[in-house]
């Protein structure tokens, strides 16, 4: 049927869709396990795997020189995580203090985390080493469908002029989907305001470019409302505080927490998280044992409601406790220019002078109406998976279904449940699979854990040989000397 329609078809045993961090990490694993580039393709609308990640981190105030929130030994360019980023930066910059910090984290020091630039430079090195660009096919994936006889068809729209036809098709035994966050999610009241007034300049999401906010504040004193209590809110606050200090600005900050955490919280002495001044504190996106310890082992055994409950227990918005941020917030509170408040916002409207009025209702019944020049929504990247057409199609026609927290249900080895076809398998990793047997999916190390599970599953199916200690060691030396896999 496909041939009769005149659409060109290419056979490729393993295809990964997305071309971001998830695809890269998976290809990196498989290349190191021993799969040649001729057996794999990645379909993507971006040119290099860290492009979207870098865009989002830069918007949310982490340019290359700043540090991301990620463990030193979570290296997407190095599946062994050794040497860790801390060792590398300490060596390159001749800074033994990094070693002291990593030794004493998180007890006497903040967690040591790598610079965004360190991550990107290493990714580039590794992408070259595994010949990533030999596998890259530019295009937009429309859908992935099971084909009669096993395996899958992937329908792709190539960029204008890149192919003779409007569509091309890949026929593969294995498909891997790692298309990241389906989209930004706006707070309902802010979305309503933006749609009603067509104002995309003053009410912004922190993951959108919003440099105009900081530029405006350099020209005259202004007020900013921050919404959200996660890492992005921390970052944006730091930028506002830094600018205040650097340029002598008068910026006033009103910070609205929907859930205001005033201290340690949790149901039991064995599950209590630190917090204070509105925030819940945690080193990384998830409790550390999610990536290999107790929580990982426990979650692996849970199904349905029990799993959803465990997710809820360890979930909740949080941010790391960093000494620098604490200092800045303390100074802000005592200097009267940083005002954290608890409340939910009923609506946002234009005031008489054209500025923004938020109607904030606190749990004690008090209604405040702070007026601001800008509102920055720092609440996240949490859109529904069905907003992405590939997932919508898989849920509707592909046999896939949702997990207890509403995302894509995958096996322990990251095969999408309900989509098996003959000797083929469809895998997914990244944020779309949150809620599965492994929780830390949308993190560097989580993507590597998923990639390892997928590579080992492919080994069980005979696509590649499982990597043992000898190959692993020899491959590590190749990585160290930057020689081809």
């Amino acid at each position: 049927m496909v041939a009769a329609a005149g659409i060109p078809m290419y056979d490729i045993p393993f295809l990964t869709v997305g071309g971001g961090m998830g695809s890269f990490v998976t290809l990196d694993y498989l290349r190191i396990y021993g799969v040649p580039t001729s057996q794999m393709r990645v379909v993507s609308n971006i040119d290099h795997p860290w492009q979207t990640y870098e865009f989002l981190t830069r918007c949310s105030q982490i340019p290359r020189g700043e540090r991301i929130r990620s463990d030193s030994s979570s290296r997407p360019d190095n599946l062994w995580g050794f040497p860790s980023y801390a060792l590398e930066e300490a060596w390159k910059e001749k800074k033994p203090s990094y070693l002291w910090q990593i030794l004493t984290e998180p007890l006497l020091n903040d967690y040591w985390t790598p610079r965004a630039g360190t991550v990107f430079e290493n990714l580039e090195r590794e992408a070259k080493r595994i010949n990533y660009w030999d596998m890259l096919v530019k295009g937009q994936v429309r859908m992935v469908r099971r084909r009669a006889g096993g395996g899958y068809f992937t329908v792709v729209t190539p960029p204008d002029g890149a192919a003779a036809t409007k569509r091309i098709i890949f026929r593969s035994r294995f498909v891997h989907i790692a298309i990241g966050y389906p989209g930004l999610k706006f707070l309902p009241d802010l979305q309503e305001f933006r749609t009603k007034h067509g104002d995309y300049q003053h009410v912004v999401n922190a993951y959108e470019p919003h440099e105009q906010v900081y530029e405006f504040l350099k020209t005259r004193p202004g007020t900013v409302v921050i919404r959200g209590g996660g890492i992005v809110a921390s970052r944006v606050l730091q930028r506002l505080f830094d600018d205040r200090e650097r340029y002598g600005l008068q910026t006033q900050i009103i910070h609205i927490f929907r859930t205001f955490v005033s201290g340690s919280h949790g149901p039991h002495i064995w599950s209590r998280r630190k917090g204070g001044d509105g925030w819940a504190y945690q080193g990384f996106n998830y409790p550390k044992s999610v990536w290999g310890g107790q929580l990982k082992a426990q979650m692996r055994k849970l199904e349905g409601a029990d799993r959803a409950k465990k997710y809820k227990q360890m979930g909740g918005t949080n941010t790391p406790y960093r000494r620098r941020w604490q200092e800045q917030m303390r100074a802000g509170r005592s200097g009267g220019y940083y005002h954290p408040v608890q409340g939910t916002v009923d609506r946002v409207e234009h005031g008489q002078d054209g500025r923004l009025v938020s109607y904030v209702r606190s749990s004690d019944g008090i209604v405040r109406e702070p007026v601001s020049d800008y509102i920055i929504d720092c609440t996240g990247l949490e859109a529904d998976i069905a907003e992405h057409r590939i997932f919508a199609d898989l849920l509707q026609h592909g046999g896939a279904f949702r997990n207890p927290v509403g995302r894509l249900e995958v096996e322990r080895h990251f095969e999408v449940k309900g989509t098996a076809n003959g000797d083929g398998a469809l895998y997914a990793s990244g944020s779309a699979t949150l809620g599965g047997y492994f929780p830390g999916v949308d993190t560097f190390l989580g993507l590597q854990i998923a990639a390892q599970e997928i590579a080992d599953d492919l080994a069980r199916r005979g696509f590649v040989k499982k990597m043992g200690p000898l190959r692993s060691t020899s491959q590590w030396f190749k990585w160290a000397f930057n020689s081809s896999v």
Binding site: S73, L79, W80, G81, F82, P83, S84, L87, I102, L103, T104, E105, P106, L107, L108, G266, I269, W270, S271, R272, R273, K274, Q282, G283, P287, K288, S289, W291, G292, G293, Q294, L295, K296, A297, I449, Q452, M467, P469, L470, S472, T473, W476
Partner: protein, 145 residues
């Protein structure tokens, strides 16, 4: 690596049997203050290693219990290093008191040199190089099997 209970125990035994054994082989002939035939000193060295393993199972149970008070259920790198102090002291006094009579009394300098060097080497290997041959180890809470 963030350990599970079973992972802790396995990692400890595995490390003692590999890194610990190699270091013991290398270091016993040059340990300060020890005397007697080399074969006996080796026997003693390996018995000390075995004692660290056996007692260690009890220690790991204690560490696992203490870890439950941590929200992240993690075990910071520094803990892994500093626990050498209580473990070393308890073992040292057990040996000195003659409670473990299969092991001959060890001269303090020899015991502490041997114990500390083995401990630090194991700690270093556990915090990095171990991940090079064993890529699944860190994701399994330290289980080797």
């Amino acid at each position: 690596m963030v350990p599970t209970l079973w992972g802790r125990i396995q990692t400890r035994l595995f490390m003692l049997a590999t890194v610990g054994a190699i270091i013991t082989l290398l270091i016993v002939p040059v340990l300060p203050g020890s005397s007697g035939p080399l074969s006996e000193r080796y026997l003693n060295g390996f018995l000390v290693l075995a004692a660290v393993g056996v007692l260690g199972i009890v220690w790991e149970l204690i560490y696992h219990f203490l870890m439950q008070f941590r929200w992240e259920k993690d075990w910071p790198t520094l803990f892994g290093l500093l626990t050498l102090v209580p473990e070393g002291l308890v073992l040292y006094f057990l040996l000195r008191s003659g409670a473990v009579d299969v092991i001959d009394p060890v001269p303090p300098a020899a015991f502490w040199t041997h114990f500390t060097v083995v401990w630090v080497c194991i700690w270093l290997v556990t915090n990095g190089p171990m991940r090079v041959p064993f890529i699944r180890w860190r994701f399994r809470g330290g289980r080797v099997l």
